[in-house]
């Protein structure tokens, strides 16, 4: 219960503190102290009526105490340069804080964490730490790097934010399209890290996606990304069985999360109602068609064609080929696949193998499966390919 409150409030409280203090580290330390104080007091004295305001006021007081104790620290922060929100006396201010709504500055924080002047891996780590409230240890574990490496990455990123003057704000209109694309890309990257099996990252990405859609209610792609993640993640439990990847058509539909599919469809409807047609919306529309029965393969192929036009991605073309095959034209699909420059990509060879099998060319299909097996890295995918190859030989 307490942990849930902490997960929900961490990003809001930290964002508000950074906005107030102008210093990431100081804000983080103060937030940590406030959450620790809450963990100690709330179970004993009961939770306050407004937990967020309590955490915020406590953290602000701790930060101000710290600044007063250590004046040299003040020189390093922007606090004293800014017209201070706090008056001379702290206590009346924190009382007032209880009564007024705290501005939600998570969006500012998100744009800071995903600033293109930071390396992508740092953007990802910082977003999970600052908005998701994951510990450094958890992030290190999720990305399979030593904790010391992740600590260094986070420290370096926070130093750069301060030293290089990366702004804490929602970018102005002329920068917004590029910067929003960067934020969406970071959230989607987190989701994809989770899609391969580490479910906690997929869940975290969905939480970030929900927050983003709520904070930018008029941005179609924010709803598109949320829809895409929800629709794909809804099938998580059905995607693996006995350590093997299960094809969509073989999945046990009773394992699908119906509520999440509905939420995904609503997000997609909202994105479309806003007039969006960007890459996340197209992918979400495809994902929505994938949970329909029977599949409208010609429509799926058409959406992939539009997505390929937008992104120029050969991987999208490969998916389009698969949809064309499902729509009934394996020969056209094979022609398309053989034009793609994706020799190192195991899905290309796996798709080609399946098409050759359907076209009754078993010898070539076998060779293509063998090539796919040379390239595949994940064990569930490998087992799947081995089963297909055994079928073919059987």
């Amino acid at each position: 219960m307490l942990e849930q409150v902490f997960r929900d409030e961490w990003g809001r409280v930290l964002a508000g503190l950074i906005g107030f203090l102008g210093d990431f580290d100081l804000a983080e330390e103060a937030a940590q102290e406030a959450f620790a104080a809450a963990a100690e007091r709330w179970p004993r004295d009961g939770a306050p009526a407004n937990p967020r305001a309590w955490l915020m006021a406590t953290a602000r007081n701790r930060a101000i105490d710290r600044i007063r104790r250590d004046r040299t620290l003040a020189a390093k922060t922007r606090l004293l340069e800014k017209p201070t929100v706090v008056g001379g006396d702290v206590d009346p201010e924190s009382r007032r804080l209880e009564e007024t709504t705290i501005p939600d500055e998570r969006l500012e924080l998100l744009f800071t964490c995903c600033h293109p002047a930071l390396a992508l891996d740092a953007q990802v780590a910082l977003t999970l730490r600052a908005l998701g409230g994951l510990s450094t240890e958890e992030i290190a574990h999720a990305f399979l790097v030593p904790e010391a490496t992740m600590t260094k990455r986070l420290v370096r990123a926070k130093n750069k934010i301060r030293a290089a003057g990366i702004p804490f704000r929602v970018p102005p209109a002329h920068l917004l399209p590029d910067r929003l694309a960067a934020v969406l890309a970071v959230v989607y990257l987190i989701f994809n890290e989770g899609y391969g099996g580490r479910g906690e990252l997929a869940a975290e990405a969905s939480r970030l996606g929900r927050a983003l859609a709520e904070l930018m209610p008029d941005e179609p792609e924010a709803h598109g990304l949320l829809a895409l993640m929800l629709l794909n993640d809804a099938r998580r439990d059905a995607r693996f069985a006995n350590g093997t990847v299960v094809r969509l058509r073989d999945q046990d539909r009773s394992l699908w999360d119906v509520g999440q599919i509905e939420e995904g469809r609503r997000a997609l409807d909202r994105a479309l109602a806003l007039g969006g047609g960007g890459p996340y919306i197209l992918q979400a529309a495809i994902a929505a068609l994938h949970v329909d029965e029977p599949h409208d393969w010609p429509q799926i192929a058409a959406l992939y064609a539009e997505l390929a036009r937008l992104t120029g991605s050969p991987v999208v073309e490969l998916n389009r080929a698969a949809a064309i095959a499902e729509a009934g034209d394996a020969q056209a699909a094979l022609t398309l696949v053989e034009e793609l420059d994706l020799d190192q990509y195991h899905y290309l060879h796996a798709t080609r193998a399946e098409l050759l099998r359907r076209l009754d060319r078993p010898g070539e299909a076998e060779a293509a499966y063998e090539r796919a097996l040379e390239l595949v890295r994940s064990d569930p995918e490998r087992r799947f390919l081995e089963e297909r190859l055994a079928e073919l030989r059987g």
Binding site: H115, A117, A163, A164, G165, I166, P167, P171, L175
Partner: protein, 119 residues
């Protein structure tokens, strides 16, 4: 915040290499001069200096008390600094915006934006 913008010319044609510079039309040459003028007139910019090309550089090292000189810049000619300016701005976004208007950024070179240490 105060930033130093380090201009790396890279493959950018400059008047120091008349042959390449001559391949630009008169209009293009004028556009380069106009852009630099606009940069220097931007509030917050204190114009730095334009350097002679890196081929004219001499690099100095002292080893065992002996001064050693080598011909050319410390880094390779292509990576060498071509000029710099200072910019007083609110934040990194403003400095990036200014950097993107420096002709070298779009003509084969790049601009490095470095915050200045303040104590």
């Amino acid at each position: 915040m105060k930033y130093m913008l380090l201009i790396h010319q890279g493959d950018t044609p400059t008047p120091y290499s008349p042959e390449e510079w001559g391949r630009l039309s008169e209009e293009e040459q004028k556009a380069v001069y106009d852009a630099y003028r606009a940069i220097n007139e931007t509030p917050g910019v204190s114009s730095g200096v334009q350097m002679q090309p890196p081929e004219t550089a001499t690099t100095v090292r002292v080893q065992d008390g002996k001064t050693l000189t080598t011909d050319g810049p410390f880094v390779s000619v292509k990576e060498a600094l071509g000029g710099y300016l200072f910019f007083e701005a609110d934040d990194l976004d403003a400095a990036i915006e200014l950097a993107s208007r420096i002709p070298a950024a779009s003509m084969g070179g790049a601009i490095e934006v470095r915050p200045i240490a303040e104590y």
